[in-house]
Every structure is written in structure tokens, then in C-alpha cells.
Amino acid sequence: MTYIAKPKFQHPGLPKNDLGYTHRDYEGKVSTLCAGCGHDSITASIIEACYELSIEPHRVAKISGIGCSSKTPDYFLGNSHGFNSVHGRMPSVLTGANLANRDLIYLGVSGDGDSASIGFGQFAHSIRRGVNMTYIVENNGVYGLTKGQFSATADRGSKSKKGVMNTDNAIDLVAIALQLGATFVARSFSGDKTQLVPLIAAAIRHKGASFIDVISPCIAFNNHAGSTKSFDYVREHNDAVNRLDVITGRDPITVDYAPGSVQVVEQHDGTRLALRKIDADYDPNDRLAAMTFLQKHAAKGQVVTGLLYVDPDSEDMHAHLDTIERPLNTLDAGDLCPGTSALEKINASLR
């Protein structure tokens, strides 16, 4: 059996969060991915972000497609319901789940093959519908699970492990998410936990479609010279526009307001995003500027990371559909069935 449960033992001295949970409460099964796979680092960051936010693990629904990346929901939040759907179709399943119960937190985990090829349409449409979710693409530019074929995010001119040159243009999911109206768009690197953890935390707190593209090198098939998704390449070409602190309503607000270096964005739910800026003139509230900024840097061969765009006044799909506050899955016959008197009227109108 390839299933490995983690031992239940917890050291009594482990630090606890506001809910009294330790890190272990946010873990899942032991990963069966290749040792050193970038996806495992993302798993660790998700665990850290949920721990820091003091989320009740069982209030998260984690949904994925098919691929190495899509396996990861098994490796975090062991007390949450998970769903490995079909290849590329995570977004629709997540959309449906969210329609049924708006009260849970939805984490969608996908791969670049999953989201940029077979699931490109579903990716796009879940974003444009404003589904309240955190959509993470673990982007390694390659199909890991089927062993090394180019994915649609592989850069033109980059080389496969076998030395084959990719001649197709790359799809930049961040650029597309911006264009489609995602209200929270970020890019990060699996090897940069300091940047990634607060980004995931902020995305979870964001109401609406949050998209994070995480460059996540594939040790087995895409970590060689000539790859533009390898650890070395990303470290050398990474240009971070900001670092993020997430301040939830519960905490005292003690941000460093040093002029020119911090910008505070307040979200609907009272969360504050303190952006410690590295790029002094970067404005994360300007969608158009974000798109231009991204393209300019891409042309220079730079991978821009950080929170690229956030709309503090975002709305989600339920607001668009004007659904009731109560989760639809809690409604029963008494709430839903119009009954015989209404049916009699309908019958009468059909004579």
C-alpha cells in the first residue's frame, strides 16, 4: 500500500495557535512525492499559513485535479475533506462545492498541466465567476506524473531534460488571471517560504477569486540547466515586488509605517495586508499597471514575485448570484418545497 499515515504522537511542548492547535494538527499523510520536490515545500507553506491564521482544519475543503501537485492535498490538513477530481477539472468541482456551502474555506490545488492545458477553460471560468477560493498552481513547467512532457507554462526556448527545445509560447497564468478579473493575484516560489506563507494566508482571507502561481521545480524532470523553472534559475531571476504581512482583526496592528516602504491594504473582513515594498513604485491596486509591469519584467527574463494585484472591495460569486447567507446544503424540504397550495395554482394555470 502506498498510503502512509503519520504517527499520532504530539510533543506536549509544541507551540499552539489561538485555537490551541499545533502544527501537527495541520499536517496530513506522509508525502509520496520525490524527495526535494517543490510541491512539498508548498505543502509546508500551506500548513504554516493555516496554522498562523488559526483556521479550524475541518472547515477547509481542499480540492485538486490529477498530477503530482494534485496529490498534495493528502499531505496537509488531515482533518479536512479532500477531493482528487479528474485531470484539469478541479475548478468546476470547487465551484459546485462552494455553491453548496459558502461557509467553508476552499483551497484549490492544481498543476500547470492541470490548469494551463486540459483545465485551461475551467481555470479561466472559475476566476471570471469570482469563486471565493484560494487557487494555487504548483507550476513546474512540466508534466511530473506522466514523466517529463512539456507543459503549456514551459517557456519558449527552455530545454527538457532530454535536451529538446520548447518551441511553443508559454501561457502566463498570472497575466491571464489578471485579465480575467481575479481580485487577488500573486506569484511566488516554492523555495521562498518567507514570501509564500503570508501570500497564502492573505489569499485565504481574501473574499473572491485568489490566484497564486507558485514556481515549484520538479526535481525529477525539470531542474536541469536550460530549464527556466529550476531552483537555480528562479533564484537567479527572481525579482520580488513586495513582502507581505497579514494582520487579522484579532491582532494589535503594529505595522512598521516607515514612509515609502509599507503600504497597508484593508480587506472586507478586516484583514490588513501590510506590503513591505521592495520595488518602491509598485502599486498592487492597479490591475493595468500590474499587467504591464509583469510583461516588462518577463521580457527581461525576470520572474516577478509577490502580491501583484489585490482589490480590497472584491465580491464573490454568491454576491453575483444573490444567494441567501445560509449555506444551500442546510436547506431542507421546509425551506425549499413550495408545497401543494403552490402546485394547485400551477395546475390551474395549465388548464
Binding site: M1, T2, Y3, E56, P57, H58, R59, A61, P73, D74, G78, N79, S80, H81, G82, F83, N84, S85, V86, R89, P91, S92, V93, L94, T95, G96, A97, N98, L99, A100, N101, D103, L104, G121, Q122, A124, H125, H318, L321, D322, T323, I324, E325, L328, N329, L331, D332, A333, D335, L336, C337, P338, G339, T340, A342, L343, I346, N347, L350, R351
Partner: protein, 616 residues
């Protein structure tokens, strides 16, 4: 023009309207059918329309039938020929002694008529042009004017049509009076210039009772409302689009929170069928009742997800309004051709529950029931309609509901249940021996009851496993579950012939009214048949016994390959020779005449004593 014995018939004839798509004739033609209903005379109308929005020919047929035969009859007694394009074909289709009604503004050469029919010319264009100046008005009122003329010709009570207008244009006085005026124009012209009434007549009767006149798609959508569906995701495709559209309009009227005005439902037009069924599966996994409506091509696209629903055991409802395939086939013509595709949809070993309603009333009931079944069985349920029921109005018994009815949410463990001492939760444990495991909704309990849903093989505790025995165990349980379904789905209905007989007939779905009528025709020819209407797959054990009790059984279907017959043979291990296929698949609804001829001819052959082999 010489007229040969014009057809003379009261309350039993077929009028067909030949129009141009987009000319606004549809509502006038439907009004004609409704006016006859208001005389207490049953009608059975059918839309015959092309896969095109404007310009191509379209027909609307009204069978006036005091005897209440609701299947298509075949043949036309009176043609209202409003489409020059199809003139020759339309004239040719009139029964000998029948009637041709046409716009006589422009004279027609006599070669364009037939000697054995009665030709009735009304200068419709001339009348409209002299009354209206606006081109749209001219077009629309022309339809009402021919309606008025028909009222006079068929001796109908104009008050009843006016009554329908006043219901339709309640509070819109101007529209009401202009329509009443147009109706009178046509009627008066006919009374003054023609010999009214003709041989075909509508006479008041009391044969409609409390029956309602409804489309199957609208009824199925209403069933979804009553059955508690809160999520609908769909992608437009004829002939299923009106299910989602009707669900939307029913919900708008019936499903808003009185206090906040907010919606107690969510309807998403998906980007395609893949997304639609994905949304349905996600919503059902999370405990909402969800459905999609589609047709054959949509089913093809959904099959990967259908397999997931089967294997991961996620409830879902698909309403499949069948049309003629394969591929794009004849998108606006009817068939019952997705039986096999739905029964075994997806790859690997799968079997799905199918329900076959016969009319709108049953479409309503089965639609509501499909959500109970989906949740009880934790599987996909297919509601199998077709264009003939879905997009046509049919008379049926009034819709009924029991206010005491609660939804069967199936085996769902709550937090309290999970906390019961000694309780073991394994997502795929067969606790009750019926093959149906317990599930939990996401978010139920902080530490218990969570599991991973996946399309990959797993053990009874939902842990990924590729061990052969574990996989086989799971697959066996799914078979057990399907057997359990047999007693939960609607049972077949059986009716015995007046005299004992060795022969039986099996039929299903929209074939029903034609079959009812065919039985009478067959009896008249001296053939007795016991009959069974199948209402669901898996087949109830009575299907096999019914076949065993007869020398052989006819299986009537509207597809080329005898798909239901194949399914019966395959699932019940029956010798195919015992099942005689009666197949109708040209895209038009099956008629009693067709069934009676096909079965009757076969039965007649049986009566011929074979010649003894000559022995030399």
C-alpha cells in the same frame, strides 16, 4: 375544382400548420390548440421544427382527439399552408378528402392544387395590409387572422379564444383588444365569404376533466424545484435548454427568501458540459441537491465525470432530453437513443440508474424522486426524457405533492453520530449489507469523519490502494448497491390483454400514448398482447418473469439498434430470439399506426401454418 367526398369528422382530426421559422406563428398555433381544449376536447400537439432560428420551414400539428389519444397519429386532415417553400410537400401530405387552407391574396395556378381535397382560400395578406401599416404588426396579426378564420371554419366558439387572450394579456388592455379585433377580422371574413363550417368540426365535450396541459421539460424542472434541487449547472443544447430555463423561472417565482429577497438556489450556465457536471458533482459532494440538463452530445462530454460519480459514489442528477444521434444527428428530432450510452457511461465497469417517465406528470414525479434516489444510492441518476415529451405540450393528470414528504438525504453521518461510542466511520464500509456506505459532508466534525474523495482505487476507509483484492471488494460492493437500487426505482407497470395470450410487448417513456392506442388497433385486428411499461433501469425482477411468461415479447423503441432490448438481453441473460424489436427512428414521434402495423404484420405471419417439408 372537383371535390371528392370531403372528410367529415367531429372532434377527431389532425390540423397541421406549415409556417416559416421566426414568423411569430408559434404562439397563434398554440392558442389554437388551447382553444380546442377549452371546448373540453383533448388535443395532442407537436412541434416539428428545424435546427435553425429563422427562415427554414417549421410545422405545428394539432391532433384533435375526443377519444384522448395523445400519441402522434400520422397523416394530415387539414393543412394550413403558410410557407410557399414547402407548398408542394405540404399539399401532397393531405389525406384524400382533406382540406387545404391558404393565403389566397396571390392567385395560384390550379396545377398547385389537388383534385381530391377541398381548397379554402383566405386573402390573409390583403386583409392584414389593409388593416395594419406596421410590418411587424402585419406579420403577427396575420397569424391571429388565420386563427379567426379557422374558428369559423371549424365551428369553434370565439368566446373561448377571447377568454384565453384575456388571461394572456391581463392588465394589457391594448394588446388584448387588438388581438380580439384581429381574431374577429378573420372570423367575420370567413363567415361572410366561405361555407362555414366545413366537414371537420369542434364540438363542445367534457373529455378533458382536470387534466393539465404541460411540456415535459417544464414539468421536470418543476420536479427539481419540489425535489429540493438548489444547484443547477447547465450548458445550452436543444432539446434540453428549456429545462434549465424553466428551472430558472420556477425558482424566480417560488424560491426567494421572503425576508431578504435572496435566492435559495444557484444556477450557473457552465462554460461547457464538463464544467456543468463538475459543478453538480462538487455541489452534491458538499451536500446540496444538484442537477444538470443536457442531451446526447453533452452526455458524451460528461462521461469521465460520470465515471467519477459512479466510482467515488457522489450523488448527481442528469436530465437527458434525447434527440436523434449519433453525433449532431438531427438535433431537433426525437429519439430514445442514449439508453446504452447512459446505462454504461464512462470507462471501466460502470452501471447507472435510468428513469423513463412517460409524460409530464411522471417527469415531475421522477425528477423529484431522482434527488432522493441519488442521495440514497450515492450515485448518478439519469432522467431520460426525449424531445417528444420535453418540448411538446401534453395533456396529463394534474401534478401532485404530499406536503408531509421529507427529502431522503440518504446515509449521512452527522457530528453526533460520529461521536457515538463504538462508531466506526469508513467511507466505503458496507455497514448495512446493501452496498451503500455512509458519507459525511465536509466541515462536519473537527477530528472525525473526514475522508479523501478520489477516482482512484481505495480501501474501505478511503485510503488510496492499488491492491487487487481491495479493488475487487469495492467493485463487488458497487454491484450490490446496484442490486439494492432495483427495488427502489419505479417498478414496471403491467396490463394484461382482454384474453389470455402468449405474446407480450415492452415499451417505455414517450412511446406510451401511441402504445395505448396501438393496443386497441391490434385488438381490432384480432391480436391480443399483454404489455409492460418499463420505468427504470436496473430492471425489476418482474421484467424477466414477464418475458418468461410469454412465447416472445415485442420491444418497442425509438432507435435503430434496439438499445433497451440489448440492455434487457445483457442484464437479464435472456435469449435475444425471445425479444422481437419494433423500431422507429426517423426522428418523428412513433405513432399507433406504426406500432399496430409492425406488430400486426408479425402476428399475422405467425398465423400462417408452415408448409410440411415435402418428402420424396
Amino acid at each position: 375544382m372537383s371535390v371528392q367526398s370531403p372528410i367529415s369528422s367531429v372532434n377527431d382530426f389532425v390540423v397541421r400548420f406549415a409556417n416559416v421559422n421566426g414568423s411569430g406563428s408559434a404562439s397563434a398555433n398554440e392558442l389554437f390548440a388551447r382553444s380546442i381544449l377549452r371546448h373540453g376536447v383533448p388535443v395532442s400537439p407537436r412541434n416539428i421544427f428545424p435546427s435553425n432560428i429563422q427562415g427554414l420551414p417549421t410545422w405545428y400539428e394539432v391532433r384533435v382527439t375526443e377519444d384522448g389519444h395523445l400519441g402522434a397519429r400520422g397523416g394530415v386532415d387539414m393543412m394550413v399552408a403558410m410557407n410557399p417553400q414547402t407548398w408542394d410537400k405540404d399539399v401532397a401530405s393531405i389525406e384524400p378528402g382533406g382540406y387545404l387552407f391558404y393565403d389566397s391574396t396571390k392567385p395560384m395556378p390550379s396545377s398547385k392544387f389537388r383534385a381530391d381535397i377541398t381548397v379554402i382560400g383566405v386573402p390573409l395578406t390583403a386583409i392584414t395590409n389593409s388593416t395594419y401599416t406596421d410590418p411587424r404588426q402585419r406579420q403577427l396579426f396575420k397569424n391571429i387572422i388565420y386563427l379567426g378564420a379557422l374558428c369559423a371554419l371549424l365551428d369553434m366558439d370565439p368566446k373561448l379564444t377571447e377568454q384565453l387572450f384575456s388571461e394572456q394579456y391581463k392588465g394589457k388592455e391594448k394588446l388584448l383588444s387588438s388581438n380580439v379585433h384581429a381574431l374577429a377580422l378573420g372570423r367575420d371574413w370567413a363567415l361572410q365569404n366561405l361555407k362555414c363550417p366545413i366537414g371537420l368540426r369542434v364540438k363542445k365535450a367534457d373529455k378533458v376533466g382536470d387534466r393539465i396541459f404541460m411540456e415535459g421539460n417544464s414539468a421536470a424542472a418543476l420536479g427539481a424545484v419540489y425535489g429540493g434541487a438548489t444547484v443547477c449547472a447547465w450548458y445550452p443544447i436543444t432539446p434540453s435548454s428549456s429545462v434549465a430555463e424553466a428551472f430558472t423561472s420556477h425558482c424566480k417565482k417560488l424560491r426567494h427568501d421572503p425576508e431578504t429577497g435572496k435566492a435559495k438556489y444557484a444556477i450557473v450556465q457552465g462554460e461547457d458540459e464538463l464544467a456543468s457536471i463538475g459543478i453538480v458533482i462538487g455541489a452534491s459532494w458538499n451536500g446540496a441537491r444538484a442537477f444538470t440538463a443536457t442531451s446526447g452530445p453533452g452526455i458524451s462530454l460528461m462521461t469521465e465525470f460520470i465515471g467519477l460519480s459512479y466510482f467515488a459514489e457522489i450523488p448527481a442528477v442528469i436530465m437527458n432530453i434525447q434527440r436523434a444521434g449519433p453525433s449532431t444527428g438531427m438535433p431537433t428530432r426525437t429519439q430514445q437513443c442514449d439508453i446504452i450510452a447512459c446505462a454504461y457511461a464512462s470507462h471501466g465497469d460502470t452501471k447507472h440508474v435510468l428513469l423513463f417517465p412517460e409524460d409530464p406528470a411522471e417527469a415531475f414525479e421522477f425528477a423529484a424522486q431522482s434527488f432522493d434516489l441519488a442521495e440514497r444510492l450515492q450515485t448518478m441518476i439519469f432522467l431520460m426524457l426525449d424531445l417528444d415529451i420535453g418540448m411538446n405540450h401534453r395533456l396529463c393528470r394534474p401534478l401532485k405533492w404530499d406536503d408531509a414528504r421529507q427529502y431522503d438525504r440518504g446515509k449521512v453521518m452527522t457530528a453526533e453520530m460520529l461521536d457515538e461510542p463504538g462508531r466506526d466511520f469508513g467511507r466505503y464500509l458496507d455497514v448495512d449489507g446493501d452496498g451503500i456506505p455512509y458519507r459525511t459532508y465536509p466541515g462536519t466534525h473537527p477530528t472525525k469523519g473526514s475522508f479523501f474523495t478520489r477516482g482512484t482505487s481505495r480501501d474501505r476507509y478511503a485510503r488510496y490502494s492499488e491492491e487487487g483484492a481491495v479493488y475487487a471488494d469495492n467493485m463487488q460492493r458497487l454491484v450490490r448497491k446496484f442490486e439494492t437500487a432495483q427495488d427502489m426505482v419505479p417498478r414496471p407497470l403491467q396490463a394484461n390483454a382482454a384474453k389470455p395470450t402468449k405474446y407480450g410487448v415492452i415499451y417505455f417513456g414517450s412511446t406510451s400514448p401511441a402504445m395505448d392506442e396501438a393496443i386497441g388497433l391490434l385488438e381490432a385486428r384480432g391480436h391480443q398482447l399483454d404489455r409492460m411499461r418499463i420505468r427504470a433501469f436496473p430492471f425489476h425482477s418482474s421484467v424477466a418473469s414477464f418475458i418468461a411468461d410469454h412465447d416472445f415479447v415485442y420491444v418497442v423503441e425509438q432507435n435503430r439498434d434496439g438499445q433497451l432490448r440489448s440492455l434487457i438481453v445483457n442484464e437479464n441473460g435472456i435469449d435475444p430470439v425471445r425479444l422481437v424489436p419494433i423500431l422507429h427512428y426517423d426522428g418523428t414521434p412513433i405513432t399507433a399506426r406504426f406500432i399496430a402495423n409492425a406488430i400486426g404484420d408479425h402476428q399475422d405471419h405467425l398465423k400462417v401454418t408452415p408448409l410440411r417439408k415435402a418428402v420424396s
